[in-house]
Symmetry: C2
Subunit: 368 residues, 2 copies
């Protein structure tokens, strides 16, 4: 585990000053107490360099930490594959190969199943509701507990917002149309679809467009209009479904090696955590703005039709989600604990979001 290095400039100056070294050391004492030794960290990420959304957030965290620390704390960012593979960042932080990572918790489902709840759960929490759960409703403590065996401390760092339901080549009339439907939808949402008769297909992002175009897939979800349009899905399918029942939130995850984090002086640790926290509002605002812009282009220029899932399908998705999540919670005690905390937060937040946000949106848009 690389530790904080002493500032080389400081060391060589001390050497140069010769006889004044003791005085210089005394003088620099309060500075060292403030963590003025120059510290360099590695941040491994699961994204290509400057990927719109999460890649930009990761770079901005590194940049802001550098600025706020006056250059005393430098974080070097490694794109996916540069130091470790995209999905190797959890193990790298656990082992101390890198002091931190920027990634998303749902990647670790194979290792720690309940990690998925810290990105999103089907019919779960919207971005602001999710932040409320983590910061006010006990979510952070459970997230900490989940990763503690790996020597990792997680925090929220950015948000890509609410997802769309996905791209379909044919319009859905009702539940019958889901039978045999070849759809890319990973995780719990895919399991819900499977129980309704669809066939979830697992494919990496780079192969999705061609698979949709050639008919290997009948449908695929990915993210929101901003990313989806850059993937070109609008050239392979015309119907863009809503809502993204399976992923109503897109919290980015910063992972810290606990020993490295605890070894930081308090000022630099606070700077690092505050830089991550600032991204929760900033990245979401950027994603929402870009999603809104791309949605308009998709509808007005690309001829895409935005379609709500038929009521019959929504209702069945909701019912199956309940039993999929219940079954999931039975897998181990910590999954049960996290599922119940998440469900309690949803039950607490939902009536307020309905009264305050949904009613306002309906009134503004003239739906009432």
């Amino acid at each position: 585990m690389p530790e904080a290095k002493p500032d080389n400039r400081l060391v060589s100056r001390r050497g140069l000053l010769g006889g004044t070294a003791a005085a210089a050391a005394a003088l620099s004492a309060p500075v060292a107490a403030q963590g003025d030794a120059s510290i360099e960290w590695k941040m491994v990420t699961s994204w290509p360099k400057n990927l719109p959304g999460p890649g930009v957030t990761a770079q901005r965290i590194a940049d802001q930490v550098g600025k706020m620390s006056g250059g005393r704390f430098r974080i070097r960012l490694y794109a996916a594959g540069e130091l470790v593979p995209a999905l190797g960042v959890f193990d790298a932080v656990s082992a101390g190969t890198a002091q931190m990572a920027h990634t998303a918790s749902f990647f670790w489902q194979g290792k720690v199943p309940a990690s998925v709840f810290f990105t999103a759960a089907p019919f779960g929490l919207l971005p602001n509701e999710h932040i409320s759960w983590i910061e006010q409703g006990g979510g952070q403590e459970l997230w900490d507990k989940l990763y503690a065996p790996f020597g990792i401390k997680p925090v929220m760092a950015g948000n890509t917002g609410v997802q769309m339901g996905g791209w379909y080549k044919k319009k859905l009339s009702g539940l019958e149309d889901l039978k045999g439907l070849k759809i890319r939808m990973p995780g719990l949402g895919g399991e819900v679809m499977r129980r309704l008769g669809a066939t979830p297909v697992s494919l990496p992002p780079g192969e999705l467009f061609q698979a949709l175009q050639t008919g290997v897939l009948d449908a695929t979800e990915f993210l929101g209009p901003w990313s989806d349009r850059s993937m070109g899905f609008q050239k392979a399918a015309s119907f863009y479904y809503t809502p993204g029942f399976h992923e109503p939130n897109g919290t980015g995850e910063a992972l810290f090696n606990e020993t490295a984090l605890n070894g930081l002086p308090e000022d630099l640790r606070t700077i690092l955590l505050e830089a991550c926290r600032a991204e929760n509002g900033r990245a979401l605002a950027e994603s929402d703005w870009q999603n809104a812009t791309s949605l308009q282009i998709l509808q007005e220029k690309d001829g895409v039709e935005v379609v709500p899932y038929p009521d019959e399908i929504i209702s069945a998705l909701r019912t199956e989600t309940k039993s999929v999540l219940e079954a999931f919670a039975d897998s181990d005690p910590v999954s049960r604990e996290i599922y119940e905390s998440h469900a309690a937060a949803r039950d607490r937040m939902a009536p307020w979001s309905d009264v305050a946000m949904r009613r306002f949106l309906a009134a503004r848009d003239g739906s009432v």
Copy 2:
């Protein structure tokens, strides 16, 4: 205007070191370049000390700046009335009596009418949409322009969330019931109500409960369930209306004296701005959580009935809002510019919020 003071400890040590002063000065140079002189600022606020929501946000900004700067930048908070009155903070920052303030932009409507848009406009932007407008849609530049004549730089710092529509002693059947209704609703929302036949009454917060109880008021808006319940309105009126058409957002405002802000070294300036930015997600999450909790208590224990405005009233409010805002925009060129930028952001964001958020909320809650 108090300037950054040199660190006294550093000065006295230099004196003590005598002959090594030159060497010491050379050594401490990079430290000084990082803004290591001890700086003290005054933050005046429009809130009682630690007022839930904005008062807590203001104190947290001061605390986080202290921690992130390792104590080099200390901000002393003054509650409303301690140094200047609640509504004297704008002038105090402009004059340099205090280097910064924590407040809300709609207080300055008498001085700069368009300032109201930087808190909320009737049928305007939800919290996340507002952040998108400010950070992505040109809102910050217009806000800067609006306050530049006063030597003030504004930024967002916290958010109290979506408001409720207000407390009514009698249920509303339709537009007829607004005629002669004595309601407390300040600003543009009050003007909309006036055009629909209501009588807006101006009263300070401390007098609202009694006025509602004795019938001086038939109705009053205030904020959301968290604050409203602490005001006791549920003991004077039984019907809690939604949506808060007049204030869908509650952005807190940090004001900086421009000379003071520009005089900060880059590290401390970045720390200060990032501490304000981190509150946008954090304070909103806290307000939403507390509002959700209080809403539940109001309904289950206090016997309050949450009632949506009748469609006829919503529709009339929307129509009148349009003409009130148009008339407002005619008052001066900068008001027109801000109105148009805000309207463009709303028109861009609304379809995305409808497709992504409203559809999800409806599906989750079983409204479809």
